[in-house]
Symmetry: none
């Protein structure tokens, strides 16, 4: 599934990059507030800081804006995610960190993720497939981690359960955005991470108790001591 080609009348690749970043940034704001369909190309142009004519020098159609957003969001998620990863961790600690970091990135890029999440369906087939492919590649990352833990006996789930577990992790991240109208009233991002990861880990039958429950009992994801230090 190759990246879709978004046509541009401008030759300077550097400029294309800059302008498209402006476009994506503006579009995320607007799509968040008014949705993709509720946002006009003129608004995107204006919010991007240039004219409608200029906007169309960098895209071929309105849908391209949505595609650029989705594409950029995935890349940004991946990039920030990698920054948060500590490659020295292993085992369940690593699994924990993978998930925790993912949640944190989602929280950081809430608006972006939400847009991508809610508007993806408005993409045409070609672009949609590409975006779904990216989604799957994220799932694969989790799957690799899960399988590693599973092979080492650190978690205990059936083989056929693995894929589902990965979906659950991903969706748990998305939930933080698409149910934010209620869930962010009930939890902070930190408490959400703790409880959600606890439920996930118990669901995986993780063999190390420190991730299975709330810090208040045996502090796992906890500010003070406890011997774990992710936050």
């Amino acid at each position: 599934m190759k990246k879709k080609n978004v046509p541009s009348l401008v030759k300077d690749e550097r400029l294309i990059k800059t302008r498209r970043e402006q476009i994506v940034k503006a579009a995320v704001q607007l799509f968040n507030k008014k949705g993709y369909h509720g946002t006009t190309t003129r608004e995107v142009a204006q919010a991007s800081g240039f004219s409608i004519g200029t906007l169309y020098e960098y895209i071929g159609s309105k849908e391209d804006i949505l595609y650029l957003v989705c594409d950029a969001v995935y890349d940004e998620v991946m990039e920030k995610w990698e920054q948060l990863m500590d490659e020295n961790l292993q085992g369940l600690e690593r699994l924990h960190q993978v998930i925790y970091s993912y949640f944190k990135v989602v929280d950081d890029l809430q608006n972006e993720v939400l847009v991508m999440y809610q508007e993806t369906k408005s993409l045409s087939n070609e672009a949609l497939n590409y975006v779904l492919q990216k989604e799957l590649s994220m799932k694969d990352m989790f799957e690799k981690e899960i399988r590693t833990c599973r092979e080492r006996g650190l978690i205990e789930i059936e083989d056929r359960e693995v894929s589902l577990a990965c979906h659950n992790i991903l969706v748990s991240g998305h939930m933080w955005t698409f149910r934010r109208w209620i869930i962010q009233k009930e939890y902070t991002i930190e408490s959400y991470c703790e409880w959600q990861i606890a439920q996930l880990f118990r669901g995986f039958q993780a063999k190390d108790g420190k991730f299975l429950h709330h810090s208040g009992v045996t502090p796992a994801i906890n500010k003070d001591g406890g011997g774990n230090g992710w936050n």
Copy 2:
């Protein structure tokens, strides 16, 4: 949060009900295929079997159609759900059934649920709040069940975890529709129910092993394996 008033120029309440059912049925099909924004009122009228003029005798605006759909879907979900419930069950068996039935209803009303799920955000404030309220009332149903089990010591989760657990159940149901592009390739509805409920129950630290794994398989964690017969 009161039901939003959808204006109609027609007096006969019976007729209004019939026509609106037609509208909702047609709209679900269309919204599924083309999305709310991609569907025109003309199309809805035609698919409903009457003219555009008549359509507007039973609604006040296009948004009302979406509202009617969302409203109807919740009601239909509740109705079908109740039909599946066996009031004689208790404890974890009841909890299991509540979730399982919910998943089955979602599967049955896939298109409806998906539309409601994806297009809800296009509702205006008043209607949106009403719909979100309904969503919360569903969560409350789960919460009641969860708390009952918890009080009886059948599951062991922190008080502050309860709400999250309910969200997870709800979202697990929605997942079956909004990730169906991938998840329904990997699982049948029955296998999905089994594995998903197993992960949830383990996440709740349910005290009865028989729900924690796939019934047909040699229990990895489960000791007894007593026959349960939901599937």
Copy 3:
């Protein structure tokens, strides 16, 4: 080559006919003055006496307007032409009348013919082919007449010359419109008919002198006696 289908959202065929006549009439005026490309759909709608929305209830695209014009012009030409024909004439008198009537109709429908003539090339392939087909069918009408005269020995041109002769007749008619900027300063429609037909007939080597020169000498296209009676 079938008539191209022009989509309409309106069901009443009678109304479609009326409205399209309005559209064609308005479009001819506008296209004459400003050309097809220089005319906006809004202008056509306004000149037709209804809104832009209504215009699009009767056509699918701007090009359809041009197509409707071309189609209607041919029909109108044929209709008026037939009205002018006296079926009792024979031989060269008939040939003369066919051409003369054709010129008169072209003069009568000058604007229409000119538009069709100048803007045809803007039609897309399907419509263009249809229109060219109609043009050919007009040529065929002349060809039939020419061949009849030729077989009877009334004119004397080579077989391979016949087709060219027909093109010349047709183009002589068109000329009256597309060179009107100069030719209508030099000739009245009547004098044009006389001289042009005279040159054509001599070109055909017609065997009857009375059509070969100007009426001022031996009145040819003349109301009264003189022995010829076409008008």
Copy 4:
């Protein structure tokens, strides 16, 4: 009617000439394929081998391009025509050659002539008048030839017929391009010249039979049939 001034920001007249030749050449190709209105200035610039900015260094507006094309085409037609003329010929032979050469030039510059012919109407008043003036000057050339023959008794048409005869010659040339969709299927340029000139000459009542029919054929009307060798 003076040549319209086409503004240029460039001083070097030599360069202006070169660049404009490039522009005209590119524009003819494009206008032929897509029409004047269907061609963008960007396309003209690109096909000319330079940037849009540079294009506007040599013209003032898009219309100037069309004007340059029309102007150049006339000049090119005249130039090539003169090259084909044999100043030693006289009488009907000269008239024949004038027409024949004209037809051949039109055939040679088909695309150019067609563009000029079809798009002229898109010129604004000033430029249009200039172009029409050029058209008239071509007509005058024919008129001079016709009158010479007429005075010498070589052809026999009324005084008032002369102008029409010239129009017919001119239009016969244009026909070869604007009806090429059908006429070039039926005739080669050579056969077209022969038959068309034969019909014209008979129309003029030319006194020399050798031009009145196809040379290769047994004269139907012609008595002597002496070999003429233009083709």
